[in-house]
Symmetry: C2
Subunit: 348 residues, 2 copies
DNA sequence: CTGAAATCCTGTAACGTTCCAATCTTGTGA
DNA sequence: TCACAAGATTGGAACGTTACAGGATTTCAG
């Protein structure tokens, strides 16, 4: 079959199929959707016509008349971040399994572009929104709420809406306690301010509690923007290295996520601090990289696929009205994976 | 403003806005789209009504009548693979910058789900498809071609359509030559069969040429499915370790991508082979992880963001008919990043 | 035969936009 | 005061589908 190269032939519509098969468009529609009440003979003829014309239903038109789409918006903090990448992949798979198509939008943790992204999703009349990251910006939230579109927050807290997540506070406590048990007395908390969300704050709470429970303190908060050699330590700008060399130096660090933990490990390598010799590091998430022998990061593992599965199940049930009533809160368990980035404190 | 909690109020339409502002729907449409020919006074009234009702245009309806969407389908091999994750992020950003929304679909390198994904994208009447991975399956290709929808292949070859990519053959040659220059005489080629595409094959060609040019050979082909201790070496199933311990052992490996290279490095670490002491490894892609001090992988770097930018520019130009004529082929340069996974061959 | 039920099929009215030709204002110069 | 142009506004016809009420046709028991 030769076609004129530039003549962009229009898509055949249900009407073309109908006239080609000698039936009405309603019948074609019924065949396409596999509804009963069409004779085998007609069904065959219609299918043949569909084949011959290369007809493909126009989802747009369908969705317009049905007043609902099967698209799920997915808000991701940073697609290039391994944790989000894994989550995004799982979410996409589970969404597809339930008949939804995922539409991602990437927000550099920036509530400005988060808002723009949600706006775009709403214009596309997505059936619901899955937040894998949520800045907590209240306007976005209200926008969404106001339009009565289901939203689920997976692994990122929110005051409102269905939440599927690990118990971040417990995780924070476990990670910190692991360091305490190893004899560390001065333990810092590391996080990346750009990406901080409610989950991080809960992890911080867990960290504080664990410290308190062990009679240690006060908490030390290191906020670090990755490429920096300096960091904001408890609010004052300090060369990062001092945190681990001064008289009151920290020997343990609980990081609110693996990316931060690995970045710190990298920093330590560069300035000749030993991990775990000089610093023991505990991360959070258990990204695939953390399991490499050369990284060997002790971390708090989240069951990513399970979170994605539950998240999709929750929002799908909301959309399909199988789930009604007040927001639900589903928590799944976290586990500590001990690797070689932590060790008992060397006695001085 | 109190709303009944379960009554999912319908979205206001352009007609609601029109009657609320006391104008016709056409005028509202003109205001929304920012067309000229609307008096300032009316414009203001309409904007107010939009505000008050919380109107948001329905992209579906717009696209239906306009016969085109502003959605770009993006076919990704594996979102969790760091190379694809970075590319996906860049692609999304550049697409958004040109007014397009990206719709990803993940195909586990499996041409079955690639086909299904493309099918879904076509049903959504995407304006074009960006392939970040392409199995080369001819039916998919023909499906797409047949519907006259623009497609661009970014960093993955195809016999047909616009291609934006690095010169994989040159890359393969450079990577292999780096090992040759370091004195290695027996150099293997490592790849992951599940994800092999035309780019990989071009890299293989480059590898073979470099070997030939140096008077070395024959090529050794290791196909490896990640968690395995065994591998298909030149077609025969062998314990992977033998490749690096036998009498004719390989001392250098050129891997067709960083993920494979890092997996091999991990394997080497586990079985006590030293990198680069016993094996020198060169990867391809320069994923972020490769730059970590603990990984320090020598690799061929692709300018990912540039590829994404050019890819989006190409397909956008096709869609907007600024680019006509036969398929284009844009090549961008590749650079060797020497790190610590390669070293001169130890003299035995 | 007849009437009713079952089966198969169809036509019309949405859905929420954009496009376009036509109409209604207004302002201006003669 | 009028004719005319320019500007502002409008109504109706698409776009490709689904929903649904009803129209044919067939089947079958009485």
């Amino acid at each position: 079959m030769i076609e004129s190269p530039s003549a962009t032939r229009r898509h055949p519509t249900i009407l073309d199929v109908a006239s080609h098969a000698g039936v009405s468009k309603s019948t074609v529609s019924n065949v396409v959707r596999g509804l009963p009440g069409v004779s085998e003979a007609t069904r065959g003829r219609v299918r043949l016509a569909i084949q011959e014309l290369g007809y493909r239903p126009n989802v747009l038109a369908r969705q317009l008349v049905q007043q609902r789409t099967s698209i799920l918006g997915v808000v991701v903090g940073d697609l290039a971040n391994p944790f989000f990448a894994e989550m995004a992949k799982s979410v996409e798979r589970h969404a597809a399994a339930r008949g939804y198509t995922a539409m991602f939008c990437n927000t550099e943790g920036d509530s400005q572009s988060e808002l723009a992204g949600v706006e775009t999703l709403l214009e596309h009349r997505v059936a619901g929104i899955v937040f894998l990251a949520f800045s907590g910006d209240s306007r976005t939230m209200r926008e969404t709420l106001q339009h009565q579109i289901p939203a689920v927050f997976v692994s990122c807290g929110a005051e409102w809406g269905d939440v599927v997540s690990v118990d971040d506070e417990v995780g924070g406590r476990m990670g910190t306690a692991h360091l305490v048990d190893a004899g560390h007395r001065r333990i810092a908390y590391l996080f990346i301010p750009e990406l901080e969300d409610q989950s991080d704050r809960a992890r911080w709470d867990g960290y504080c509690e664990a410290l308190k429970a062990a009679g240690l303190g006060p908490p030390v908060r290191i906020s670090w923007s990755p490429p920096a050699e300096h960091a904001l330590v408890d609010g004052v700008d300090r060369p990062l290295i001092e945190v681990f060399t001064g008289p009151d130096r920290a020997t343990g660090v609980f990081a609110s996520n693996d990316v931060a933990a690995i970045a710190l490990q990298e920093f330590a390598d560069r300035v000749d601090l030993r991990v775990p010799g000089d610093i023991s590091i505990v991360g959070f998430d258990d990204v695939p990289m953390a399991g490499l022998a050369r990284i060997a990061l002790t971390t708090i593992a989240q069951p990513r696929d399970e979170l994605a599965r539950l998240g999709i199940a929750t929002i799908a049930d909301r959309i399909e009205r199988k789930l009604k009533g007040p927001p639900t809160r589903t928590l799944v368990d976290v586990t500590l994976v001990a690797r070689r980035s932590t060790a008992p404190l060397r006695q001085a």
